[in-house]
C-alpha cells in the first residue's frame, strides 16, 4: 500500500490519507458571504472524491466588502457553514477545514492599503477577528482551521521582507512574526488545545527584495514552536509585481509571482518542491515534527509518492489536479490512475480568476459547471474509418488533427501521447504528453526540437474516465534551422 494512503494525525484530527486540497478561489459565492448551492456542490464533489483534507476556500474573518467571497465574520454565517461541513463529512472520509483570511482595502484607482498604515488598535482588531472566526469554525463542525498567512494578504505582508513598519511589528524576522504569532495564540485560546490549527504561508515571495527559503525555514520553525499543527507552503502571489490594468483593482496573481504560485505547463513538474524540502529540513533540524504540505504542479502518483519518499513533504497538496478530477484520490487508491482526467496546467482556471469570472476547469464538459460524475463502463470508440490522426509541421511546431470519437454518454476529452525517435535515454515509449477537451480534435505541440522525429497517438476518454482505443501512430520530423 502506498504511503500516500496511510493516515496522518494532526493534533486532534486524523486524515485518512496524505492528499490535500489547498484553498482555491472559486468565485462561486455571492456578495453576502453566505454558503450557496454552487459552493455546496463544488465542495461536496471534492469530499466525495476522497481527498484526505479539503481546505475550503478563503473566507473573511472581517466584514469588509470584496466581491464574491465567503465570510466567517459573524454568527449569522454559521448555519450555512455548519451545513457545508456536515454535507462534506457525509460525502467522504476526508477531513474539512476552512481557510480564514484577513485582507486590506484596495481600490480601482490603484490605491491599496498597506500594513504600515495600520494602527495598533486595528492590529488588535485583526487578532480578535481571527480568534472569533476560528471559534466559529470549530462551532460549525469543521475538523480544523487553516490560518491564511500566504500571498498578498495581511499576515503575509507582515511576514514579508517588504514589511516597512517602524515599530515592534517590523524591522526584524521576529518582529515580522509578531502579528502572525499573536493570531496563532489567540486562535488557540479560542479553540482550545483539542482542535487542529494549520497555517499556510509562502516559502518564496518571488518578488524583488522578497524573502526566500532562507527566511521561510525560520518562519516555519517559529510558527511550529508557537503551536501550528501543519505548515502548508505556497509561493509568490504578491501585489508588488501585479499587472496594472486601468480601472481594475490590482490582483496579486497577475505578475511573475502569480506565475510561480500556480506553475503552468511552461514549468517543470513539482517546480516549487525546493520550498517544502528546505522548510521541512529546517523544522526537522530543530526537532520539530510538524507535518509540511507540499504543493505546485504535483499531478501524478509517481511524483506524489516521490515527495513523501524524499522528505519533500508529509502531505501532497493539489488544487488544479483535483479541480480537473475530484475523484483522483479514489482512483489513485484503487490503482486506477489510468482513469484520472489529468490537469494539463494550461491555467485557464487561473485566467478565469484573474478576469473575476467563475472558476471552472476547461476540461469539464462545457456548461456542466462541475466535474462530471458517471458510473458508465462503456469506453468511447473511434468512427468506422478510425482516428484518422495526422501530424503536420507548421513553423517549427507539430499540428495534430484527428476524427471525433463517439461514446454512449459523451466523449470527455482526448489524451495525446508522444515518443521521441530515436529515444532519449530509453525505449521510445509513448508517454502522456497533453490532454484536450472533447469538443476539440486538434492539438499543437510547441515543445519539439528541430532535427528530431516524434511519434504521436491519441486516445479518447469518457465522463467516467474510460479510455477508448489508442489511434494508429503517426510521425512528424521537425526540420532543423541549420
Amino acid at each position: 500500500m502506498s504511503l500516500l494512503f496511510e493516515p496522518l494525525t494532526l493534533r486532534a484530527t486524523t486524515l485518512p490519507n496524505r492528499l490535500v486540497l489547498p484553498a482555491m478561489v472559486t468565485r462561486l459565492s455571492g456578495e453576502d458571504g453566505h454558503v450557496n448551492d454552487d459552493i455546496r456542490e463544488r465542495y461536496v464533489r471534492f469530499a466525495r472524491g476522497g481527498v484526505g483534507l479539503a481546505v475550503v476556500e478563503a473566507m473573511a474573518v472581517h466584514g469588509s466588502k470584496s466581491g464574491p467571497l465567503l465570510r466567517i465574520s459573524s454568527d449569522e454565517l454559521k448555519p450555512g457553514l455548519t451545513d457545508l461541513a456536515a454535507r462534506m463529512h457525509d460525502a467522504g472520509p476526508g477531513k474539512v477545514a476552512p481557510q480564514i483570511i484577513h485582507f486590506l482595502k484596495i481600490s480601482r484607482s490603484g490605491w491599496r492599503q498597506t500594513i504600515d498604515m495600520l494602527s495598533l488598535d486595528e492590529i488588535d482588531a485583526i487578532v480578535e477577528a481571527y480568534g472569533a472566526a476560528a471559534r466559529r469554525a470549530r462551532e460549525c463542525g469543521f475538523d480544523a482551521v487553516e490560518l491564511h498567512m500566504a500571498h498578498a494578504y495581511t499576515l503575509s505582508s507582515f511576514l514579508s521582507r517588504m514589511n516597512a513598519r517602524k515599530d515592534d511589528y517590523g524591522g526584524s524576522l521576529e518582529n515580522r512574526l509578531r502579528l502572525p504569532i499573536r493570531v496563532l495564540h489567540r486562535v488557540r485560546a479560542e479553540v482550545g488545545a483539542d482542535f487542529t490549527v494549520g497555517v499556510r504561508f509562502v516559502g518564496d515571495e518571488c518578488i524583488r527584495n522578497g524573502y526566500t527559503t532562507v527566511d521561510a525555514g525560520p518562519i516555519a520553525v517559529r510558527l511550529a514552536q508557537e503551536g501550528a499543527d501543519w505548515i502548508s507552503l505556497s509561493a509568490g502571489g504578491k501585489f508588488e509585481d501585479a499587472r496594472r490594468i486601468e480601472g481594475e483593482p490590482l490582483y496579486p496573481y497577475t505578475g511573475y509571482s502569480g506565475d510561480r504560485c500556480m506553475p503552468s505547463h511552461a514549468y517543470p513538474d513539482g517546480a516549487n518542491l525546493y520550498i517544502p524540502e528546505a522548510v521541512r529540513a529546517a523544522l526537522r533540524a530543530r526537532g520539530l515534527s510538524t507535518p509540511v504540505v507540499a504543493a505546485g504542479k504535483l499531478g501524478t502518483v509517481e511524483l506524489a509518492e516521490r515527495v513523501l519518499e524524499r522528505g519533500q513533504g508529509d502531505l501532497v497538496g493539489m488544487a488544479r489536479a483535483l479541480l480537473a478530477d475530484p475523484d483522483l484520490p479514489r482512483k489513485w487508491r484503487e490503482g486506477r490512475e489510468d482513469r484520472v482526467v489529468r490537469c494539463v496546467y494550461g491555467n485557464v482556471c487561473k485566467a478565469l480568476d484573474e478576469n473575476f469570472k467563475r472558476v471552472d476547469c476547461t476540461l469539464w464538459p462545457k456548461k456542466l459547471g462541475q466535474a462530471p460524475m458517471s458510473d458508465d463502463v462503456i469506453a468511447p470508440a473511434w468512427p468506422d474509418g478510425g482516428a484518422g490522426l495526422s501530424a503536420d509541421v507548421r513553423r517549427g511546431n507539430v499540428l495534430l488533427r484527428w476524427a471525433a470519437a463517439t461514446d454512449n454518454e459523451a466523449v470527455y476529452g482526448y489524451q495525446v501521447f508522444r515518443a521521441e525517435e530515436p529515444p532519449a535515454g530509453g525505449a521510445p515509449l509513448l508517454t502522456h504528453h497533453a490532454s484536450v477537451r472533447g469538443v476539440s480534435t486538434r492539438y499543437e505541440d510547441t515543445r519539439v526540437m528541430g532535427g528530431a522525429t516524434y511519434r504521436y497517438a491519441v486516445r479518447p476518454y469518457d465522463l467516467a474516465g474510460n479510455r477508448g482505443p489508442m489511434s494508429e501512430p503517426v510521425t512528424a520530423s521537425v526540420p532543423s534551422a541549420s
Copy 2:
C-alpha cells in the same frame, strides 16, 4: 586531489581546473572600446589567481555606442586585446576567452528596440558581426570565445518565450533558435574546427510568461548539436521587469529577474543549481557530453565539489567570489580555504553596476581599486585589552561591536562566526556567518529567531588573508514575540 583541480578539455583547449570566471560588467573601459590600464590590471589579477577559464567581460561585435564597454568590432581594436590575452597567459595557467555580445538600441526616454523590429538584412548583419568578432578573438590569441546568448541581449531575446516575431525567427522553439544557430555556424566557419566556442544563455528567464528549464533543456541540446563546446548557464537579467527610472535607460538587472541573476545573501547558497542540473540531464539523456558551467552563489569549496559530485555541472562559475578574492583558486588548490576572503553576497558590486559606476568589491581596502596582493605572513592581532566583543539585541536583531585589530600591513576585514544554542541538528560549532570590511567594527545579524540564543566570535584578517586570533565568544538571547 579534488575533482575541482582535474583538467578538462573543451575541444581545442584544456583548462587546468574546473573553476570559471563568468563574464562580469566592470565599467572600467573607456567609451572608445579599447583595452585600457584598468581593464588590464583587473584581468591580469584574475589570471594570476589561477582560475581555469577566465571569460573577459562582454565586448560588442558591433560599433553601437553604449557607454564604457569593450569592443571587438573592428581590427583596430585587436592590438589591445592581443596584449591583454598575452598578459593574462603570462600571469597564470588558466585559459582566456572573451564573451562577445550584440545588443539593441535603448534610449533614456524609455524606448527600446526589440527583436521584432529587426529586418532580415539587420539579422544577416548580426550573423556577420559575430563571425568577424570570433575570428578576431582567435587572431588576438584567445583560447576560445563565448557567445553571449543570455540576459537581455539580442540572441537571448530570440531564444525568449517572449519572442514576438511572426516569421521564421519566432513562433516555435526551433524558430527561436534559428538566429543563435546561424551565429554558431558562422562563428565556426570563421574560426575553424580547431578553436573552442562556448555559449552562455539563461536557463530560466524568471519573468512572467518567460521560459524555464522546460525550454532550457532542448535549447542546450540544440546548441550542443550545432557545435557549442560548452554551455554556461545563468538566470534572469531581463528588460521586461526592469525598474523604470525617469531619465535613465532601462537596465536589465534592476528587477526581480536581476535579483535571480546574482542571488544575494537573502538567497540560499547555490540558488540556481536546479538549472544546470536539469540542463545537463537533458544533454546527457541525448548522449551529448558537452560540459556545463553552473553558477550563482557558489562560494565555498564544499559546495563547488558537491556540484561536480552530484552532476549539477562540469565546471563551477563564480563571478562575485572571484571578484572578492581572485586568489581563491590558488588558495583552494593549496588547501588554504581558510585564507580566502569570502564574498558576503551583499551585492554592493551589483548596486554599483546598476548606478553605472565602476564595479569594485566593497570588501577591498578603500581606494585600492583592486584585490590586495601581499606575501606577508604576520597575522593581525587584537589590542591589549582584547577584542571587547559585545552583542546587544535591538528590535529583534543582534548588534555586534568590537575593538579595531592591528596589523603590520593593514587589517583587511573581520569574519563573524555564529553558533545557535541549543544546537540545531548537531554540535554548537561556531561557523562563518558573515564578513565585514576592515574599516568597520560592527555587524548587525538580521537572521535570528525569537526565543533562540546565539553565540558569536569575530576574527580579523589581513591583506594576505592571514587570520588573527578568534575573539572571546559572547552570547545574545533574542526575545520571543509571544
